[in-house]
């Protein structure tokens, strides 16, 4: 970034979450343009492509969340059973190396190694990934497959939103303008249970997903007692695959029909043609990836 770009925003670097919440609340009340920045891996790109500010226009305030201690940390907590709490500001690099994540949330660890490249992984965060709301977000697909709970904090307090109720449309969510995504709570996967992370990109690194498939399952007596799955780049929001989940949870694995599975995946997704891929390819890959994982679970699809 060159010196000429520096006038595009002003920067605030709060040192603690209450300070950040107060600042944000004040900005929202005054109606002045405000940006939240976690790792900046999306935001700086967007700022770089934004049209120039008009002469004399007031640049937005960018609130840097990357130094808030409350957004860090990965720990085991108890909330309706065991959960792993992941700070929204934990970088992918830290996530992928964390022993607790590797052991209890292997999908998340694997995804963290696949996203962007080393520089993106060092800066990027799950909170930022969810906040910017791209339907192609890999981290969000991983959260969705785990039915993560999203923790939001503001001067009004803290609230918890189940993932299924978080996204409301393309780059829209239930997050209020004065709220900061502070953490996620995920149910650990039973040791040895099957999971799948498959990112289909145009290259091995630095690729936005054409399709990504995240899934976890816990099996018992020939059935899935837990099955969570999601896809990126397959709908205007992260696809949480309700029909597919219902089919898998409601059918003994041995009796699962491949074509019924294909129909469920098709019903759950609405792929498009865009710069990165085609509708036909995405539809095909989504079916194939879902079948591949179900075969791993013992279904004859």
């Amino acid at each position: 970034m060159s010196v000429a770009d520096l006038a595009r925003y002003e920067l605030a670097v709060p040192r603690a979450l209450p300070e950040a919440c107060q600042l944000l609340a004040a900005r929202v009340a005054s109606g002045e343009p405000t940006l939240l920045c976690a790792g900046g891996t999306d935001l700086l790109v967007e700022l770089g492509m934004a049209p120039p500010l008009g002469a004399g226009a007031r640049p937005p305030l960018c609130v840097d969340l990357s130094r808030l201690p409350e957004l860090g940390g990965v720990e085991r907590v108890d909330r309706d059973g065991p959960r792993i709490r992941i700070g929204a500001g934990v970088s992918y690099l830290a996530l992928g190396r964390h022993a607790l994540v590797e052991g209890a949330l292997p999908l998340l660890a694997r995804m963290s190694h696949d996203i962007g490249g080393p520089t993106i992984q060092a800066r990027g965060t799950l909170g930022g990934n969810l906040a910017t709301g791209s339907p192609a977000a890999d981290g969000v697909a991983a959260l969705a497959a785990h039915d993560a709970t999203v923790v939001l904090t503001s001067v009004r307090g803290e609230r918890r939103v189940p993932f299924a109720g978080f996204q409301t449309g393309y780059k829209r969510s239930v997050r209020q303008a004065d709220e900061i995504i502070t953490a996620f709570e995920l149910e650990p996967l039973a040791p040895g249970s099957p999971w799948c992370w498959r990112k289909v990109g145009a290259r091995q690194a630095q690729a936005i997903s054409k399709v990504a498939f995240a899934a976890v399952a816990e099996l018992e007596g020939g059935r899935a007692r837990r099955f969570g799955a999601a896809m990126a780049s397959m709908a205007p929001v992260t696809a949480t695959l309700p029909a597919t989940r219902a089919l898998v949870l409601g059918t003994p694995l041995a009796g699962l029909d491949g074509e019924a599975l294909d129909r469920a995946v098709a019903a759950d997704t609405s792929p498009i043609d865009d710069i990165r891929s085609t509708r036909a390819y995405r539809a095909h890959a989504a079916r194939a990836l879902a079948r591949g994982f179900l075969r791993e679970l013992g279904a004859a699809v």
Partner: protein, 759 residues
Amino acid sequence: MSSSEVRREHVGRSVGRVDGAAKVTGRALYVDDLPARPGELHGAAVRSPVARGLLRSIELDPAFDWSDVTVVRAEDVPDNVVALLVDDQPVLARTRVNHAYEPVVLLACADRGKLERAVAAVRLELEPEPAVLELEAALAAETVISGPDNVQSRYLITKGAADVEAEDRVAASRAAIERALAGCEVVVSGRYSCHHQEHLYLEPNGMVAWWDADGLHATGSIQCPYYVQKGLCRGLRLPAERVHVTQAVTGGGFGGKEEYPTMLALHAALLAQKSGRPVRMVYGRREDIEATTKRHPAVCEVTTGCDRDGTLRVLSLRALYDAGAYVTLTPVVLSRGVLHAGGVYAWRDARIEGLSLATNTPPSGAFRGFGAPQTLWAIERHVDRVARELGRDPAELKRQNLLRVGDSTPTGQVLRGSVGLAECVTAALEASGYRDKRAAPPRVVGRKARGIGCSVVLHGAGFTGSGERRLQGKVAVDLRPGGRLCIRTASTDIGQGTETVFAQIVADAAGVGLADVDFATPCTTHVPDSGPTVASRTVMVVGSIVERAAQKVAARVRAEQAAAGGSFAAAGDRLLAREGAVSALEQYEPPGWVAWDDARYKGDAYPAFAFACDVAEVEVDLDTFEVRVVGFWCAADVGRAVNPVMCKGQLEGGALQAIGWALTEEVVWRDGRILNPRLTNYIVPTALDAPPFETFLVEAPFEHGPGGGAKGIGELPMDGGAPAVAAAIEHATGLVLDGLPLTPERLLAASLARGEVKP
């Protein structure tokens, strides 16, 4: 030449890069690192948003404060032409635009933020016209944008039965080659297409221009200082002695900084002239991808005839190249395309026709390989097809038909020596285990299938035919105090290692240490015109006169040493004290036997060819059709490797660029505009996509090459990657793809067409 007397202490050794330390420590100054000159302005271009249209007016928003913005329009350009082969391209569009992103207005301002707003405050009133955006549409000529039929240049090469004398050679040779094909036991036809490719050098194009009492100065990221000087002289109507063009340290070119910097230098110079201030123009990635040249898309129609035993006899090939909106270097690119179209095979009868067609896309231009990768893609894919028809292994069919010393190419050039082709094929096939891997059915593990494929290619070094004779490239080697030698050449180091290999050649030729050799900054005021840094000519052509010049200067110092004693340095200093300057200026002269007929396209197209066999092994995901290259073997006949590590680096880097072209790189167009002008969506391979490379240097020395026989290899590795990868995909999946790029989406479509996709 006295190469047999030369002791080789440096050539053949992988010495470290002489420019390496400056580059890794940041001391090397690329154009955007150069300190701002006093009063310097930033420059920008206002470009056409449409592919074709009439320019009705240019309006500057009256609400905008233009007081500190310099505005240059077409009428400000003394001679509104970018001087290349044909005077068809304006520096700034005047009455019409012929492609999207064509520059129309130039602006300069000290404040970059304001400059950006100023660009948005210029309104171009354009009346769009129907545009021709694809080769097929250009050929159909329902809309004519150039000449009577959109055809811009044309070549015809004939050999054997097709080499007929007739008033209408085009028609008569066509009839003759059809008769020859009719007499063959097996006739196979195919059509092969390939697409644009963006250079994506790390450093975008950039230039700084200023005027002073000596005239105009332009310093930038360039391959060819004298091309830029020529363009500035013409566009600004200046004599050469008033134009001083200097190369800044340059971060890659691949041909993308061959002709384009002339345009950029003209823009910066015009703004500097009108504002009376230095002007800097450094493109961002988006502008660089949108506005600068790309590799020519091409379609080749091929029909061949052979004996049932696989002996290739007759070749008929028609190549169509998409030139884009202006001629630029296209005729030369097309020429190289047709000259390489026969591949590495000994055809008895050949007819090769090439046409370039105008379209309303940004001009296609020089790109590593310069036309050859397109026809070599076609001929290699085609010989694979012939093998399929014959039930033969493609590598064995290729080996059976390789050119040998004494054989002739389609232009009738008899190969006199330095043909290490068979050794390349043997080395690459053996190292890769090709035969065993092809003997069994493709290995499938889970949903991943492996396949292996090979290509065999050649690349002529230096300018085509009489080009080098016309060019008269020159270099100088000067004696400096302390027994040092300084190379003065316009052959630039753009990352490929010229400074290092030239220093190695000079050190050996003069019998001095590598540390005693300097490389002068390429500036038209101080270095002779060595010809452009293109065409795989730097080492083989320019390196040979560098060697000779160094020998001559050293011989004078040695004579002084013999006469009056002392060290090389002491003798050199005595000479300098006596004579003031001691220097040797050498001019290139091709070997006397090189004979070329431009009118009939016959004779010795190149003094030497480099050869290579590439083997690619791929793994294809049968669910997603993702392709990974899991192994890449290249054996290349380089004549003589001056610096083996750097030579392999060129070969492997070029192969990766070829793999990118084959698999992922795709310029996506809509209405003549590029939809993916960003690093995030124009997909070049990353380090993780690079396969393990095994590269073998075969040395069949070329008697006139420097260092004991070096040939040019800069472009060779771009030629064979795509057909080798396509052959490997075919082996793994049975899918035959004849059009690039080989994306998963296209593989899926091919699989659907065969009715065999099952998730």
